[in-house]
Structure formats: C-alpha cells, structure tokens
C-alpha cells in the first residue's frame, strides 16, 4: 500500500513537471497556478 502511494505521488509530481514544461494544456483552459510555486 505504501509503495502504491509513493508511486502515485511520484507520478503526479512528474505530471506537474511535464505540465510546467508545456506552453499550455490540451484544452482551452487550465486551473490557477499555485502562487507559492511562482516564487
């Protein structure tokens, strides 16, 4: 169970890295980027 949670967390963080490297998302909108991560 713990391994699955670690894997899922790592997957989502990698998805974030992928999104951050794109100009925008596939469809015509995206949620507000967390302000803390802009600093």
């Amino acid at each position: 169970m713990q391994k699955s949670l670690n894997f899922f967390s790592a997957l989502l963080i990698n998805i974030f890295k992928l999104i951050s490297n794109t100009s925008c998302l596939g469809l015509y909108g995206e949620p507000d980027y967390p302000k803390e991560l802009l600093k």
Binding site: Q2, L5, N6, F8, S9, L12, I13, I15, F16, I19, S20, N21, T22, S23, C24, L25, G26, L27, Y28, G29, E30, P31, D32, Y33, P34, E36, L37, L38
Partner: protein, 208 residues
C-alpha cells in the same frame, strides 16, 4: 452541462486526494503537495471535458474525426500555446466549438487547392518560427527554445501527413486545426496575453 458545482467538485476531489497523500506519505513537502493538487486539478478537469466532448461526438457518430482533431490539438497546443478561458464552463464551450467547427468544415468543404495549402504551410512555418511559443498568463514558460523546435517538428509532421493523405475530410481536419492554432498564436502575439482574458470576457460574459 457542467456548472460551477462541477468545478468545486473537481477542486474538492483534488484536495481530498492530496490530504490523503499528505497523511500517508510523510516524505512529501508542502511544495510537493501543491504540485500534486495542481496536477490532480488539471487531470480531472481535462478528463471531464474530454469525456463530455467524446460522448457528444459519439452521439454525432463522428468519433474518428474528433480523435484526429484531438490528437492534432494535443500535439500542437502544449507546444505553441493558445488562448485561455477564465472558467471551466467557457473552456468547455470553446473546446466544443473548436471541434464542431472542424467537424463541419471537414465534412462540408471540398478539397482545398494544393497551391493554396502550400502557401498556407509556408506561412505557418514562418509564424511558428517567429512567434511560437506564446506566453501563458498563468505561469512562466522556461524552455522556449525547446518548445519552438518541438512545435516546428510537430508542424512538419502534420504538413507531410497533409500532402500524403488522399482523404479530403482528414486533410480538411488537419488544415483547419492548424489554422485555428496559428490564428490564436498571431492574436496573442499581436495583443499580448492580457487580451486573452478580454476575448474570453467578450464571448463568454454570460457564463461568468
């Protein structure tokens, strides 16, 4: 049609999953949790929109054209950027309109003149080279050079496919999908990212 409750629901589910991971995975920092929550919102939001549009085109019996238009969108928009919408609803309506316009154009229009298409692709390459990728009003873009190269590779692929295919509907679908992306690229670069919000407000003020 989804309403504001659906947006709240996506946020609530994302927060719920993030809180669960925070409790059960001590190695995650505050920044990691923010990244996880953002990723969940993006994945759940886009998945919801995709399912709604997929079902719509399933009812219209036009799934192959929708899937092609979706693949073109996925292979161009993350690389060159585009107009953003303020709300989930306006984004969904824009996305449905995008696919419906491509569907109508692809099925109703005859095959375009080859010389006209050649001129279009040459102009597209110049536009991509000059303007791609455009700025995102919500977050900074760090790797512009890589995105420009990838967008040019993507455009080359669709250009080759366009001149290889003999099917009029598929060619029209590729042509209009690229035209819509390039139009957005030009609009954003001419008026700046602020205009995105203005365009959205103008067209979708009734949804806000």
């Amino acid at each position: 049609m989804p309403n504001i409750n659906e947006v709240k629901m996506i946020k609530s589910i994302s927060t719920l999953i993030t809180n669960y991971l925070a409790k059960n995975n001590n190695s995650l920092t505050k920044h990691d949790l923010l990244k996880i929550q953002y990723s969940l919102q993006v994945v759940l939001g886009d998945l919801t929109k995709f399912i709604i549009i997929f079902l719509l085109f399933l009812c219209l019996n036009q799934l192959p054209l929708f899937l092609l238009a979706f693949v073109i969108l996925i292979s161009t928009r993350p690389l060159i950027g585009g107009i953003h919408c303020k709300t989930f609803n306006s984004c969904l309506i824009w996305s449905i309109m995008h696919f419906l316009i491509i569907l109508l154009f692809s099925t109703m229009f005859p095959r375009l003149n080859t010389y006209f298409c050649m001129v279009f692709f040459v102009l597209s390459f110049i536009t991509y080279f000059a303007y791609a990728p455009c700025n995102n009003e919500k977050r900074p873009i760090k790797n512009k050079k890589i995105l420009k190269i990838l967008s040019l590779i993507s455009l080359t692929f669709w250009c080759i496919l366009f001149f290889t295919l003999r099917n009029t509907q598929l060619c029209n679908c590729i042509f209009l999908s690229l035209l819509i992306q390039i139009t957005q690229l030009i609009i954003i670069n001419m008026k700046g990212v602020v205009s995105n919000a203005k365009i959205t407000k103008l067209f979708f003020s009734f949804t806000n």
